[in-house]
Symmetry: C2
Subunit: 216 residues, 2 copies
C-alpha cells in the first residue's frame, strides 16, 4: 500500500508541473504534441518529414526524449530549429519536470509549435501528462494490427493515430483496416493518418491537420 | 529520496521471489528463457516457429505476459502445451511474483523448458529478474539498426539477441551488420541469431542452440 501512495504522489507532483507547462504554452500561444510509440516505429522519421513539409510555414521547436544517446537530436540539427535533448539514462518515459527543464532552454516567444518526442515505449508514457495539448500515438504496420487492443492505454489517451510504414504492407501480415478498426474500438475519437516516411504518403494530410489545429 | 528507497525495496522484494523461482527451476531441472522486445517485433511468432520446430523433442511450457488481452495465449493453444497468461492490466513489465504465481499452475515435473514472453517493452523488463536462466532480446530489422545504443539496458542483460524479420531487409533502411555491431558493442558476449518467421530462416539454428543449452 505504501508503494501505491508514493506512486500517486509522484503522479500528483507530475500533474502539478504539467499544469505549469500547460500555462506556459498558453501564455505564449504555443501548441504542443507529445509523440508516443514503440521503439523504431518511426517517430523521428515522421518528425523529419513534418519539419521538411512545414518548413517556413510555422516556427517549430522539438524536445527529444531518449533512454540513451542524442542521435535523435543530431537528426534534427539540420533543420536549424531549437532542439533540446533529454536523456533519461534508463528512465522509461518523460515526465513533466523533465519537459519543464527543457522548455526553459527554448525561446517560447519565437515558437508556435513544440513537438515532444517521447521515449520509445507504448506503455509507461501513456500515464504521464507533460502539459501537452495532445498526445499522438504512432503505430507502424510492421508491429501488427493487434497493438491497440494489447496496449490500449496510449490509444485511449491519444487524439490522433499515425499508422506508419504503409509502404511495407505488401510484404507483411498486417490488415490495415483491422488495425484502424481496433484503434477506433479503443478510442472512437481518434483521427487516423496513414503515412510512409519513405514515399511521403500521408505526410501532407498530417501536416495540414497540424496547421488546422494550430490556427484554431 | 523516499521514492528511491521504495523502488529499491520493490526490487529487493522482486529479487527474493526471483531466487525462489530460480530454486524451483533448479529443483525440477527446468531451463528458462525470458523473451524481451518492443511491441510487435515478433516474440509470439518466434515462439510459434520454435514450438513447431522443437515439437516432440522437448517438453515446453509457456508463460505469456501482456498488458491487456489473452491473444498470445490463444495463439499458443494449438500446440497443446501448458500455457499460462498473465495480464498486467497496464503494468509495463512482468515481475518475479507474477511469474511465481504462474509457475504454480504448471506441472513442473513434466517440463524441460519454460519460455516467458514478457510485456512488449524494451525498457522496464530489463531491470526485473524473474528467476530465469537467460534473458533473450528480440530486435526486428524494421525497428532500425540503432536500437542497441538507444536502449542499452536489455542488450547488456541478455545472453542472446534474435534479429527478426530479416526477410524485410530489401525493403527497409536497416544495416544488418551495423545492428549486429551496435549490439556487440553494448554486450560482446551476446550470441546473435538472424531469423524470419515468414521464411523460417534462422529458426533451426536458434532451436539447436536451445537444445544445446538445455543438454548442458
Amino acid at each position: 500500500m505504501n508503494i501505491i501512495t508514493i506512486e500517486r504522489k509522484v503522479l500528483e507532483k507530475n500533474d502539478e508541473v504539467a499544469n505549469l507547462n500547460r500555462a506556459l504554452f498558453k501564455q505564449h500561444g504555443v501548441f504542443s504534441f507529445n509523440l508516443v510509440s514503440s521503439p523504431g516505429s518511426g517517430k523521428t522519421s515522421i518528425l523529419e518529414r513534418t519539419l521538411e513539409h512545414l518548413n517556413g510555414k510555422i516556427k517549430i521547436g522539438v524536445i527529444e526524449g531518449d533512454v540513451q544517446t542524442n542521435f535523435d537530436a543530431e537528426r534534427m540539427a539540420k533543420y536549424n530549429i531549437p532542439v533540446v535533448q533529454i536523456v533519461t539514462r534508463g528512465g522509461c518515459h518523460l515526465d513533466a519536470p523533465l519537459v519543464q527543464a527543457a522548455l526553459q532552454k527554448i525561446d517560447m516567444k519565437n515558437i508556435e509549435l513544440i513537438i515532444i518526442e517521447n521515449v520509445g515505449n507504448l506503455v509507461c508514457p501513456a500515464n504521464y501528462d507533460l502539459g501537452e495539448k495532445m498526445k499522438i500515438v504512432v503505430a507502424s504496420t510492421t508491429e501488427g494490427d493487434d497493438k491497440p487492443l494489447k496496449y490500449p492505454g496510449i490509444f485511449r489517451n491519444a487524439s490522433a493515430l499515425i499508422i506508419n510504414k504503409i509502404d511495407l504492407l505488401p510484404f507483411i501480415n498486417c490488415n490495415l483496416e483491422l488495425l484502424r478498426h481496433n484503434a477506433l474500438t479503443i478510442n472512437p475519437q481518434l483521427t487516423v493518418f496513414e503515412t510512409s516516411c519513405t514515399t511521403k504518403a500521408g505526410i501532407p494530410e498530417w501536416c495540414d491537420w497540424i496547421l488546422c489545429k494550430i490556427s484554431k
